[in-house]
């Protein structure tokens, strides 16, 4: 039987896959060649933001795996965390659909669908935890 505990653990797995994608994307999308065209400072800010995004994702994975019960209980700090994660992934779905470059999404349609499904799953799970 699929339990809410399992679904939150699964969210941790989805987050791990997104984290992994952050290590594959630089080669696939030619970060190095593209970033060579901009000022050092912009390049460094981009790298720092990438690093912090991975740190955020690792924090979320650890929360799903080790604070599974607390997230489901949705009390105190965990409630705040659930609200934040629901907003974070809900907005990520909108960014994927509305903001990101259509040409790239057409070039990699499978990745586009996979990311959309992953972001939507996370948005639904954390919204459910927030309102449950």
């Amino acid at each position: 039987m699929i339990t809410i505990e399992f679904l939150v653990y699964w969210a941790g797995f989805v987050l791990a896959m997104i984290t992994l994608a952050n290590f594959i994307a630089p080669g696939m999308l030619g970060y190095k060649e593209n970033l060579a065209k901009v000022d050092t400072f912009i390049r460094q800010v981009f790298c720092v933001h990438c690093g912090y995004t991975v740190l955020m994702l690792v924090g979320m994975i650890l929360a799903c795996v080790f604070y599974n019960a607390e997230l489901i209980a949705n009390e105190g700090l965990a409630k705040g965390l659930n609200i934040f994660l629901a907003v974070f992934w809900g907005s990520r779905v909108i960014v994927q659909v509305v903001f990101y470059d259509k040409a790239i999404k057409k070039k990699y349609p499978i990745f586009n669908v996979m990311f959309f499904v992953a972001f939507a799953y996370l948005a639904v799970i954390f919204t459910f935890l927030t309102i449950n």
Binding site: Y31, V38, F46, H49, L55, Y67, G80, Y100, A103
Partner: protein
């Protein structure tokens, strides 16, 4: 001692929310739009998305610290973890400022120099506050 730390955490929360407000001016001060013009659209969009998410974490940590400071010190696994995360977050930011950023490309204005000093002081303060909170949670 805890009441003193609670007030300090609330100040840290306020500091992070002020940082969020200041972040609105950063793209203009550092001429991000001009700097990003050479990038292909997807990377430019990712740059803005990542920047917004980092700001989102600052809002989350700021609100939590300002309005739920005592919750951050309740000694639970979650509160300790959040404080550890924020210690790593701001500690890394201090290291990045000193050992990674090359500011020679930054527009050389008095405002930018003063802003940098203010930011570094804030990052050090935030690292100290959350480290202190971790220590209190672990005791």
């Amino acid at each position: 001692m805890n009441q003193y730390l609670i007030t300090t955490i609330q100040l840290a929360g306020l500091g992070q929310l002020v940082l969020v407000l200041a972040s609105v001016a950063i793209p203009k001060c550092l001429q991000w739009n001009e700097g990003l013009a050479g990038l292909r659209p997807l990377l430019r969009q990712m740059f803005w998305t990542y920047a917004l998410y980092v700001t989102g974490v600052h809002i989350f940590a700021g609100v939590l610290s300002l309005f739920a400071a005592s919750e951050l010190l309740n000694g639970s696994f979650v509160s300790t973890a959040v404080c550890v995360l924020m210690t790593v977050w701001w500690g890394a930011r201090v290291m990045i400022q000193f050992f990674f950023f090359d500011n020679s490309d930054m527009p050389n204005t008095l405002f930018n120099k003063l802003a940098e000093i203010g930011l570094v002081m804030l990052f050090i303060f935030l690292t100290g506050v959350y480290t202190w909170a971790v220590v209190v949670n672990l005791n």
